[in-house]
């Protein structure tokens, strides 16, 4: 499959990347590992005039302490983070979600920034332009109908990051730098809740760092998938516990992950939590398995995680 024409530029600093963005007439996309972006461009789901390669900005590839936080450069690869001893010791849910991401080769190339900013997906959207034209453009492509759920008024594409739920259970924040300066927001505030345009990012903004409060947590991540490798999650549930409080996050079952805090892991509380999670979930028939099955699996994955956590606490 041939790529469309675009300019390729490599930035060695954030300032240079922002200048290139301006130079492109705001018609550029930032490139990190390319494992999500390049296939999108190949399918003509994005047609940028310029790709700005960020991999020359070497200081965005490190993990460091910053006061009471661990600061992760957005260009760190999934493999590098999976092998990081601090993440293993402090954030086991995140370690597990890194391990569950895609397959070994793609983990070596894909970055955490790219994983968080991967676009939402749908069986009727992630297809070639030829295929999509024959079906008629859907809401996410600027059309006026949904090809997954006839009659739907909003896009129902699925946000399939494995790592977002784990990071949400850890109260992670993200740092962004754009033409109007720098800002830091909770990761939860990145999401619009609208699958057509899933992120609340200003034009030209670059995700530079992910920050996690540095405190030892316990936890894990459970992923629903067909194959043991390569697959995107069909549902992902993360659990992190700190100081007696547990946070679950349920992702890959709608346009954004949802977080639920519980003060204990006893059955009654879990059932209430699962009820809320089922209500918040927005599964659509746009993956390879049935929507009712994906929704029902929330309870199963939550109980698997809670069971393991209770066992470990003994």
């Amino acid at each position: 499959m041939i790529l469309p024409r675009f300019m390729y530029r490599k930035a060695v600093s954030i300032d240079e990347a922002l200048a290139l963005y301006k130079q492109s007439g705001s018609d550029a996309l930032y490139l990190s590992g390319g494992t999500d972006l390049v296939p999108r461009v190949k399918l003509r789901l994005a047609k940028p005039a310029m790709l700005i390669d960020l991999k020359g900005i070497t200081d965005l590839g490190t993990v460091e302490d910053e006061n009471d936080w661990i600061r992760i450069g957005a260009l760190s690869t999934i493999t590098d983070l999976k092998e990081n001893s601090i993440i293993k010791e402090y954030f086991p849910a995140f370690r597990a979600s890194l391990e569950a991401t895609s397959c070994e080769s793609l983990r070596m190339r894909g970055t955490i920034g790219g994983n968080l900013l991967q676009n939402s997906r749908c069986l009727f959207y992630n297809q070639s332009e030829f295929w999509r034209k024959s079906k008629g453009f859907c809401l996410k492509m600027g059309g006026d109908k949904c090809n997954a759920v006839p009659g739907a008024k909003v896009c129902l594409a699925n946000y399939a990051s494995d790592n977002a739920p784990a990071l949400l259970t850890l109260s992670a924040e993200i740092r962004l730098t754009g033409p109007d300066g720098q800002r830091q927001i909770p990761l939860a505030d990145l999401y619009s809740g609208k699958a057509g345009k899933p992120f609340l990012l200003a034009p030209g903004e670059i995700l530079t760092h992910i920050l996690i409060p540095k405190r030892k947590t316990t936890g894990d991540y459970e992923k629903l998938r067909i194959r043991g490798a390569i697959d995107y999650p069909l549902l992902g549930v993360a659990l992190s516990t700190f100081d007696g409080k547990s946070r679950f996050a349920v992702g890959a079952i709608g346009p954004k992950p949802n977080v639920f805090e519980v003060d204990s892991l006893d059955e009654q509380r879990l059932l209430e939590m699962v009820k809320d999670a089922r209500q918040a979930a927005r599964p659509a028939p746009n993956t390879v398995v049935d929507t009712a099955y994906r929704r029902d699996m929330i309870a199963i994955l939550v109980h698997r995680l809670a069971g393991r956590a209770t066992e470990e606490a003994k």
Partner: protein
């Protein structure tokens, strides 16, 4: 559209070329350098047929721009044999019958080489984790795993 100048090492040879900015490394290898051992399967980074080693790490060359490989050390399947002598992994794939249609084989061998270069004695689980990055639609994984195991620990091979 102006081309972009890249310098990279391919199978030990220093290559300088002017490449289209939107050209993939796979296209450069196959079309410009005529190294057609690297295969295009899905063309979207999913299947792993186009795997090459990029600075020692397996990478899917169909979703990698030639421009991104500027300065990199690239190894393709053509770079494994020494003259007429095949690489031990290639020999082992033949011995174990780990090749059916053969289309996934170059990528599979480079993924396995990436693993053995990092870890000379991987466990079976580690081998499975690595080769599961690549799709074999003949579903011949059992023999592929055996071939990698035999290369990793030849003394245990029968």
């Amino acid at each position: 559209m102006e081309k972009i100048h890249v310098t990279l090492t391919v199978n030990g040879d220093r290559i300088e070329a002017d490449v289209p900015q939107f050209q993939t490394l796979l296209e450069m290898l196959r079309d410009t350098l005529e190294l057609t051992g690297t295969k295009e399967g899905c063309g979207q980074g999913a299947c792993g047929s186009c795997t090459v080693l990029l600075n020692g790490r397996p990478a899917r060359s169909c979703i990698l721009l030639a421009a991104e490989a500027d300065g990199a050390d690239v190894v393709t399947i053509e770079g494994l044999a020494e003259g007429e002598r095949l690489h031990p992994l290639q020999e082992s794939f033949m011995d174990k019958g780990a090749v059916q249609c053969g289309f996934c084989t170059p990528g599979m061998i480079l993924t396995a080489k990436g693993l053995l270069d990092r870890n000379q004695n991987p466990s079976k689980t580690e081998i499975i984790t690595s080769v599961s990055s690549n799709l074999c639609r003949c579903t011949g994984y059992k023999k592929i795993i055996e071939a990698v195991e035999a290369t990793a620990a030849p003394s245990d091979a029968t």
